[in-house]
Subunit: 178 residues, 2 copies
């Protein structure tokens, strides 16, 4: 999938609808990936993204130590890989190999980008004040990549306990909201 | 719409998919409502919800002063009312009257609940440490109400600039994720 650099000012449109994400890290030469649903935009530009990464997740250590990661947005075709990533820990398994997920290098972070995802956001930690209490990280998106052919991606949205809503039709309304 | 009390332990399933919300407040006898897309779950139970309410929004004053609000989840049938709420400020207009939105009293907060929404969450501010820098509030959900007839609501998901994704089909996958 040939991706292009995507304007940072438009990143919010990718994350606002609430898709399940795959968060990638790399620490001491070992890459990992986890599924993530608890995230929100916090500012437009530079784009800030808040997200919860539980201290129980193996990725927590890599994220806090390297202070960087990538957020990768899968579409519904990748559902079985996403669920696979959510079901096992990187502590015990190389999830890239187990679920046939392709890593491509980032440009500004050591964390790998996932080739199969239609968008990749290279991120650096911007604020850790709420990490101790809530495992809540504020990330700054440094660089964004998207597949330009995908207009209204069929993203996955977690409803809990194995149920995922798939993004439906997009409507246009006379909104002044950015 | 006859709503029932909804278990706090299941609230995350309502918010995780990333629906547009209507946030209601009441301050000095004046109720207000705004549209909100920047939110995330932060804990399961008691449910904690993080959200950005810009200091430019009229609701910001009522929220910070009363330290409580309600989060109301509209389905796609309410799209024109949602856009209406997003387009004008409560500083100048009574949006409940302008967009024919019905208030019902909450049980634990003074903020009104929106009758037309399929779910209503009565909330109190739990943490304000990230308000000064990011306008980011951590809310605790004290009480939840839902329309029990609605299984897979057609929620609205903001893509930016007047484009809204409407929740599509729900699939079930062998996920161990809560």
């Amino acid at each position: 999938m040939a991706k292009r650099s995507f304007p940072l000012s438009k990143v919010y449109g990718l994350l606002e609808p609430g898709p399940v994400l795959l968060l990638t890290t790399a620490h001491k030469g070992k890459a990992n990936v986890m599924a993530l649903s608890w995230h929100t935009m916090m500012d437009f530009e530079p784009p800030l993204v808040g997200c919860v990464v539980s201290a129980r997740n193996f990725s927590f250590g890599a994220l806090t130590k390297t202070r960087e990661c990538a957020l990768n947005i899968p579409s519904a075709e990748l559902a079985s890989k996403v669920v696979g990533c959510g079901n096992v820990s990187g502590r015990h398994k190389d999830k890239f190999e187990a679920f046939d997920i392709t890593q491509v290098p980032g440009t500004l972070v050591a964390a790998p980008l996932i080739s199969e995802c239609f968008a990749n956001l290279e991120c650096r930690i911007a604020d850790t004040r709420l990490v101790n209490r809530y495992n809540f990280f504020v990330l700054e998106v440094l660089k964004a990549w998207t597949d330009p052919s995908l207009k209204d991606p069929r993203t996955l949205h977690h409803r809990g306990h194995g149920r995922f809503m798939i993004a439906g039709e997009t409507i246009k309304l006379p909104s002044k909201m950015k």
